[in-house]
């Protein structure tokens, strides 16, 4: 929000910053992909699929990243509006458990998915209610619902077993994986194309619809937005519901991919989303951001985690992710002008 005089004075550095800002994430992605492709990864076979950029391994990475691809677009919109939902990981777990349970108890696939989506709407509405109506700080409200949803998911799974899966009395139908694993095109499952469709829809929502414009306006300055007649409570609530629904779809994809309902399957997803959104250059305090760049951020995270998995033991992954987060924060700080600085 720099006035014209300031822009005139520091025009060069300002255009340079804008230029870097618009391309840096692609450069970042290119460097990482190039690095993993050139370095032979210590001669380790990439899941027995050969080279990093081998079609098989690319397809594998895309399959793994379906849940976060599904979710991160909606998460971006919420963060553009200046709000956050830390409960998405638990929402994924709970809907995965519910999906596996309803498939196992004989409901058809459309009905099971509908049930999970409905659950996602409910979870998103609860978050919206707590944050917007009861005005509990978003971080606290969604941290508490994180534990609430996680507790419910853990309670649904019977004691003594780790997940909702095939048992002697009630076998899991084999077609649970039709949505998330069975290959339909190019070796990719339905869930991937659904995620792609959702991303496209969100790009349109962000750029062309009232909801997207209002989200940016609310994130830029909620008071100003409300004074100019935007019903912030309503629109942010809608965003929370959208995030809930998309989290539920991500949970369905996860459960279908693994053919079981794991009550811990979504743990840590909120961090992945935050990292992707920050890498994508969305301002910390909201007001600006881009769904497309978040998706590039997702690809970076997936490349880093799966790429590293081939060279170093799994327990290094957490540190790798944390480092990517800190890098993202520094880049974000250098390149994105947040309101307080502008």
């Amino acid at each position: 929000m720099s006035p014209g005089s300031i822009r005139g004075r520091m025009g060069n550095s300002e255009t340079l910053r804008a230029g870097i800002k618009s391309v840096y994430i692609y450069v970042f992605l290119f460097i990482i992909v190039a690095l993993f492709s050139v370095v032979k990864l210590g001669q380790v076979e990439f899941f027995g699929r050969g080279h990093f950029l081998n079609p098989n391994s690319v397809i594998n990475m895309l399959r793994i990243s379906v849940p976060i691809l599904t979710l991160s677009g909606a998460f971006t919109l919420l963060m553009i509006a200046g709000y956050i939902d830390l409960s998405v990981g638990s929402a994924i777990s709970l809907s995965a458990v519910i999906y596996a349970l309803s498939i196992r108890s004989g409901l058809g696939m459309p009905l099971s998915i509908a049930l999970s989506v409905f659950l996602g709407m409910a979870m998103g509405s609860v978050n919206g209610l707590l944050v917007m109506k009861l005005q509990i700080t978003p971080v606290i409200a969604t941290l508490v619902t994180l534990n609430l949803y996680k507790g419910i998911a853990l309670l649904i799974v019977p004691p003594g077993v780790s997940a909702i899966k095939s048992t002697a009395q009630s076998p899991m139908p084999a077609w649970i994986n039709y949505y998330g694993r069975k290959e339909v095109l190019l070796g990719l499952p339905w869930s991937f194309f659904v995620a792609l469709l959702l991303i496209l829809a969100l790009v349109v929502v962000q750029r062309k619809t009232i909801l997207g414009k209002y989200a940016a306006a609310i994130g830029g300055n909620r008071n100003a937005a409300e004074l100019s007649g935007i019903n912030a409570v309503k629109y942010v609530w809608i965003l929370y519901v959208i995030v809930g629904v998309f989290a539920a779809l991500a949970g369905v994809a996860r459960a279908s991919f693994m053919s079981l309902g794991d009550p811990l399957s979504g743990d840590g997803m909120e961090m992945d989303c935050i990292i992707a959104v920050l890498l994508g250059g969305t301002a910390f305090s909201g007001g600006e951001g881009s769904v497309v760049k978040t998706i590039v951020g997702v690809i970076i995270i997936v490349c880093v985690t799966t790429g590293l998995m081939t060279v170093i033991p799994a327990y290094w992954q957490v540190v790798a992710k944390a480092s990517v987060l800190l890098i993202a924060v520094v880049l974000n700080h250098l390149l994105v002008r947040s309101k307080s600085q502008g």
Binding site: I84, L86, L130, L134, I136, T137, V139, I140, L143, V144, T145, N147, L148, K150, G151, I152, L154, L155, P159, M271, I274, L278, F284, S285, P313, A314, Y315, W316, Q317, V318, V319, A320, K321, A322, S323, L325, L326, V329, V330, H333, S338, S340, Q341
Partner: protein, 342 residues
């Protein structure tokens, strides 16, 4: 706090006390009610042994709660404390383990003298607080994002040192003394004594020192605090470092108590610390709360969880109970304060 309410308030004992003390007293009332209910429902709940347990078995959460409460009063979160516990515990074990004593890599450490190892582990784990302080006080990044990241970083380093498991062999005898010694003549551990001393120190700091009062000023209005000459950044930085130091102390005590360095020790403690602060009336919006309130909150949480255990509920109920209790506490406190201000 609020001047206009000072004028209207009747000059009774209840009317003259500050809002902080009012909420602390309010939560003491809630504690008594909950305790009475638990005594009615749960068999043997009123026994002296159980009461001592309730007062003492949460000591680690209370120590964490001190730092987390102060930060919450200033409007910041510290979600890294759980990770710091794991890191300091694992480091203290790794530093004292003998050099080249076994072919098993997890049994070999650096062979330092006990006291040096403990001090060094505390110093290293406190560095996490330094990272928090740099990003939050200097770069003005939202605390929730950075501390979630440093939580991953700290726990990730602990996982690397323990290869994702734990270190518990080739430890000198004195390693277990600190955490397993009882105060003479009682069943109270030294750790509990440390907790009590720390709470009293924190209470004195909060009420009697200039620096302690500044915390409230920063929480109520950081901009006004800055303009009136408070070094907000420096104050926040030192609070983050203190919070990490307290978590590091807790980690060393826990490692000594279990005579093992576990990489997943302290998982979820950051949420518990936040919950006890919120239960005790610490508010994120506007420099409000007290360490004594947090202590009361910790006892409430302890009563609730041990009542749930007494009723033989599944441990997974803890997540849901904590969530519900927190929401109820936030709403009840807000209602009580609103009534009082009228």
């Amino acid at each position: 706090m609020s001047m206009e309410s000072n004028n209207k308030r009747p000059s009774t004992f209840l009317g003259r006390m500050s809002n902080d003390s009012f909420i602390s007293l309010f939560m003491v009332g809630v504690l008594i009610v909950i305790f009475a209910l638990a005594c009615l429902i749960v068999p043997n709940f009123y026994k002296a042994k159980n009461i001592v347990n309730i007062l003492t078995n949460n000591w680690y959460i209370i120590i964490l709660g001190i730092g987390v409460s102060f930060l919450l009063i200033t409007g910041n979160f510290d979600m890294s404390v759980g990770g710091v516990i794991a890191l300091s515990g694992v480091l203290s074990v790794y530093f004292v383990q003998g050099v080249n004593v076994s072919p098993n890599e997890l049994a070999n450490g650096l062979g330092m003298p006990y006291v040096v190892a403990i001090l060094l582990a505390l110093a290293c784990a406190t560095c996490i607080g330094g990272i928090n302080a740099f990003f939050i006080a200097k770069l003005k990044v939202p605390s929730i994002i950075i501390t979630l990241g440093t939580m991953m970083l700290a726990r990730g380093i602990a996982q690397i040192i323990t290869r994702g498991a734990q270190r518990n062999t080739s430890l000198p005898d004195e390693f277990g003394i600190l955490g397993n010694t009882f105060v003479p003549g009682t069943s109270v551990k030294i750790s509990v004594l440390i907790m009590v001393v720390l709470v009293l120190l924190a209470f004195a700091y909060e009420k009697k020192t200039v620096s302690g009062r500044r915390i409230y000023l920063i929480g109520a209005n950081p901009e006004a605090a800055r303009l009136s000459g408070v070094k907000v950044g420096r104050q926040l930085a030192s609070l983050f470092i203190v919070s990490s130091f307290l978590a590091a102390v807790t980690g060393v005590l826990l490692a000594s108590e279990y005579i093992a360095g576990l990489s997943n020790r302290g998982t979820g403690y950051e949420f518990d610390a936040l919950v006890v602060a919120l239960l005790g009336g610490v508010s994120i919006a506007g420099g409000f709360g007290s360490v004594l309130g947090m202590f009361v909150g910790a006892i409430i949480l302890s009563v609730v969880t041990s009542a749930a255990t007494g009723l033989l509920l599944s441990p997974h109920w803890q997540f849901i109970l904590k969530a519900l209790v927190t929401f109820l506490a936030i709403l009840a406190q807000r209602y009580a304060l609103d009534r009082r201000r009228r």
